[in-house]
Amino acid sequence: MRGKGTVTVLAILLVGALFLSLFPGCGGGEEGGKKPIKIGVILSESGSQEPLGKPEKKAIELFVERLNAEGGINGHPVEVIIKDDASDPSRALQAAVELLDQEEVVAIIGSSTTGATLSIKQETNARKIPLISMAAGVEIMEGDFSYVFRTPPTSAEAAGKALDYIAKVMGKKRIAILYDTNAFGTDGRDTLKRLAPGYGVEVVAVEGYDSNATEESIDTHLVNVKASNPEVLVVWGTNPGPAKIAKRMKDKGIDIPLMGSHGIANKTFIDLAGEAADGVLFPAGKMLIWQKALKPGTPQYELMKEFSEAYSARYGEQPNTFAGHGWDAILILTEALKKVGADASPDKLREAIEKTQGLVGTAGVFNYSPANHNGLSPEDLVVVEIKNGAWDLAPGQE
């Protein structure tokens, strides 16, 4: 009898142990075992947009490590499931379906590009799941944008800043626009033409160029815009077009001030344009020159300092703008989660994101509203001047 009883007790213990081992969360027991909050992340970690996706991923992982070390969201650890869309919109869509079907994430952050974001948006809109994009294309906010938000500044903020600087600081009224005929350039052209009257600026000439055109072909555009006597030449494009234009202007001795776009807020432009880059102005997020553009003691300065120190300590390199976009996306989402709690429905979470006000991120101060899911304003940008091959705060902005 006694033997049988011992066997029964052992058997119960054994089954119990087996049972417990099925639930690893309970086994450890020490963390109190609150259910993790799952967040899906889709970014272009490989393929042509790798320079965007890589730093975004690093920033998001760093943010989550730090958040979980501090106890997560109301005691719930945050788990990010990161998928690579290989810079391919169709893969982004597939990743979104996987995240929603298999992982049951509460929201998705992604992706690095406008095309991939549009793919994901179809799926998140249909299932009413919040999406935070790190891409700047206008198309993202076309149609129903109630479930999609974004972190980077768009052409509206950049063009607004450029026009504001031209009108108020430079005191000029007549601009000519040279735009790249790609999506970035045509979007910029439309935005500039739409916003210029509001700043009292007149657009006297508009010319489109192809970034790969010969230098002589670029010369024709310069001759054309000069015919309308602009006071400032606004060049809206990505490399190498603006560098070609800056170089030809210097060669030909055209000394009209050149205002670029945030498309040249990179070292590549300086490398390409060389000496011709000197004196070129462009609007960019304050992060690019945060030590110069922000005052110590302000919330954004302190955030940038903390972010930059943590990032370089972890990865051995300074964070760039794209890392900032990733950081801001996870920051906005987790702040909203803190407000509504871990068990909130996607709709409650969406509302909480939409109510985000005065949240300081790396790109600026985020204010969302039902009508505006872009979040930033022209005040979050500064005009940068290139001096001796380095970025500096353009005069008149203190």
Partner: protein
Amino acid sequence: MGAFFSNLPQYLVNGIGSSCVYILMAMGFSLVYSSTGIINFAQGEFAAISALVAYTLSMDLGLPLLLAVAGALALTGFVGLLLERAVIRPLQGKGTLTAIIATIGASIFLKAGARIIWPEEAYKVPEFTQGQLNLPKASFNAQLLWMLGLTAFTVAAMYLLMNGTKLGKGLRACAINPEAARLVGIDVSLMSMAAFAIAALLGGLAGLVSAPFANYGMGLYLGIKGFTAAVIGGLGDVYGAVLGGITVGLLEEVVAGFLSVVLGVSSGYKDAVAVILLISVLLFRPQGLVGKGLVEKV
């Protein structure tokens, strides 16, 4: 209107600069087409590869410019040769359409390969000469003189090659009738390889003179312009390519100037000039402005 006419000399100078690049590209298209019947859609990639290799040789490895340029041309010629052996040759007898489609594949392959090696938005390739020359009514980059000189030299060399050498006669014979050419002892396969290698050199030169900026995607732009120029010229001899190149180059700049200065229309439509020319020629004069090539073939 006055502003347009006072700018006209500058537009023409600019047009001549672009023409040089288009002529070199067009000669590459014409040579391959007239000796093999294939439109080589990877022609633009030769320009990109050569300019990017010149960047690596001169900026990364520090070779003198002359050596870098020679090295880039040699390597591009070799890529052309390899393309013919690896892609075109195995498809022999499968029809020219198959081969043309294969060149589209080769173009995608070369572009993707170049993107892995040179991923940046653009690279600065050194210019042959720095500086700016000012004439009373126009000013231009000193590089333009190199473009003019090299293009003139290449056109002359191509003319002599096609009309005065055994290789040129063989190439032309293959164009007229490959079977007959084979019967009289011409190595048709060798001719095809030579055509691709020379076309690669021509494309490579176009990429080098259109410096100073190069990137993996530039081939498409130059390819479209060169192809248009070649079709306008009838896809045949050297004359045709020169005529086509000059037509596209000059018209583009003058039309862009006219649209912008006289009509006040954004010259974002400049690139449409080449496309409209291409379609008009294909519709109304498919043999090209001077050529008889296409009609004879059909």
